[in-house]
Symmetry: C2
Subunit: 291 residues, 2 copies
DNA sequence: GGGCAACTGGAATATACGTTTCATTTTCGG
DNA sequence: CCGAAAATGAAACGTATATTCCAGTTGCCC
């Protein structure tokens, strides 16, 4: 009955602590309690909005079990437990989509503002999609390859060029030897010829794929240089040549595709590479430093 | 009593329609109804989770007024109205922060993944902040200035250079005459000297401000060239020289600041300029086309 | 395998909730 | 300024809700 006298372990007052607590204690819980606890974590919104009756039938337990779970976790009752699930939704920061609706409405007929909000929205969508689909193992593999490289060749033309521009800056700051394949005097093919299998490359290209980028990536592949690819689909001609590749689905607006997601990726890469090298005693970057 | 027989105007079933409906009809509503309707729009979470009693006291009306509002809008009762506010929270897509917590937990000790999620998170924060703080009038003013310009000079060094790189691409695609102030052979000061008061410039720089950018912006200002500035605070040395300026607060991670927000802004600018010129009979871009 | 504690299901209960009702006040046209 | 209609405040009402209680079942230790 008096389950709650638990002075040692404090009761979680925010969703994340509650989540950990449940995961931690689930193994030692009675069957029905564990059952409804699992349901709660996979259907948090159901707990937030439902009633004891509705949740009970959805999770196939008795309403009383919900109260028992709450007591078991140290809460005063189901309502107390429920408040945690509600707080989670309550103060959630607005998504930009929602903010932008407000912006659009306040702006009224202001076409400029609509344009701006459109691009902001596209950027947000891209970021969100990246966050949802990121495969961390692909990222790790890319870092493996690039951290082992002597020189990293950077290939990205036209719309994707800003990615290269930023990576070049970051690599420089981090003492990582690299070479942009974008000369003003047309010696790109020759630049690529200098690459050896001890080097590596990052190639970014999105539909419609720049012919130059494809050709250069192809050439590197033939020379045995591993190429890390950032592109927009599995059907990209770049993907087939890749040692590993990222699929980044950028949203577009007014015909201009966002670069936000790719940019986040290309910001993370240099730092991750530097970090990896630091751990391994920086076999490459040290060399680069000396010259 | 029978308020609801309103076959013509359908009852809004999603939050945004409800919002519009309320805004539209607020003027013709009785005092108390308008009062609680306004409260509902500014405290939607309160409606979603509160009870008639709690909402009534918070908005300083009687509980019955809530039911009256619901009926007035055509709902079956308060609970029906409340469900709209709940749906809004229910299916809201997760914020990346939340997704990334999951990513971090699933990734466990994976440091690479943490780095990546950090950059994604920083990008998302930047976008969100921009969405929240955008002043559309500043944007309009910037477009006014730039649409009237003969040639647009682009100034952004080092970390901000990708912004210029993208704008140059977009301007080219849109047939807008521009000049990047970033020559490989050190003639930037001379380039800037060509500018006249009929031109305009976009300068982007963030702390620590690149001395070159400051100097060139200053020089343009002295020559009477209006400068649109993108920077990170009102105290930026660039802000004082600006014809108009944007404050963009980029989040940073691992010492590298995100460019997502500024990038969204610099994507919107060229399109907005092109659009403005199209409306005004493209007095400048036509000229640029001919030469 | 017996006995005890823990767990579970289902009904009982007190409460809090949304809603309705009605008296009072306010608004506005004549 | 009067009177009808609308709007409002306050209390009463029925219902659905969270919670408790108790009987039945399961699991486990001695």
């Amino acid at each position: 009955m008096d389950d709650e006298p638990k002075p040692p372990s404090r009761v979680p007052r925010d969703f994340e602590s509650l989540r950990s607590t449940i995961i931690e204690r689930k193994a030692t819980m009675p069957k029905r309690l564990a059952q409804v606890a699992a349901f709660a974590l996979s259907n948090p919104d159901e707990i937030a909005f439902g009633t004891t009756a509705s949740i009970a039938s959805a999770s196939e337990v008795q309403p009383s079990t919900l109260v028992r779970l709450a007591h078991h976790l140290g809460y005063e009752g189901f309502s107390d437990l429920q408040s945690i699930f509600r707080e989670r939704l309550r103060d959630r920061t607005l998504t930009y989509e929602e903010r932008l609706v407000t912006l659009e409405q306040s702006g009224g007929e202001d076409e400029d503002a609509n344009l701006l909000s459109g691009f902001i929205s596209a950027a947000g969508q891209s970021i969100n999609r990246l966050a949802a689909t990121v495969q961390s193992d692909t990222f790790s593999k890319a870092v493996d390859i690039l951290a082992a490289a002597d020189t990293i060749y950077l290939i990205a033309k036209r719309r994707s060029y800003p990615l290269t521009a930023h990576m070049s800056y970051a690599f420089s700051k981090l003492n990582i030897r690299h070479q942009i394949v974008a000369s003003p005097n047309g010696v790109d093919p020759e630049t690529v010829q200098f690459a050896t299998p001890k080097d590596a490359a990052i190639a970014a290209s999105f539909s419609p794929y720049a012919a130059e980028s494809l050709g250069q990536a192809e050439m590197l592949k033939e020379r045995g240089v591993p190429v890390v690819v950032i592109t927009d689909s599995a059907f990209s001609p770049l993907a087939s040549n890749a040692a590993c590749w990222f699929e980044v689905a950028e949203a577009d607006f007014a015909g201009f595709r966002s670069l936000s997601a790719s940019m986040a990726l290309t910001m993370a890469l240099p730092v991750a590479i530097a970090e990896r090298r630091r751990k391994l005693g920086q076999p490459k970057s040290k060399k680069a430093k000396m010259e």
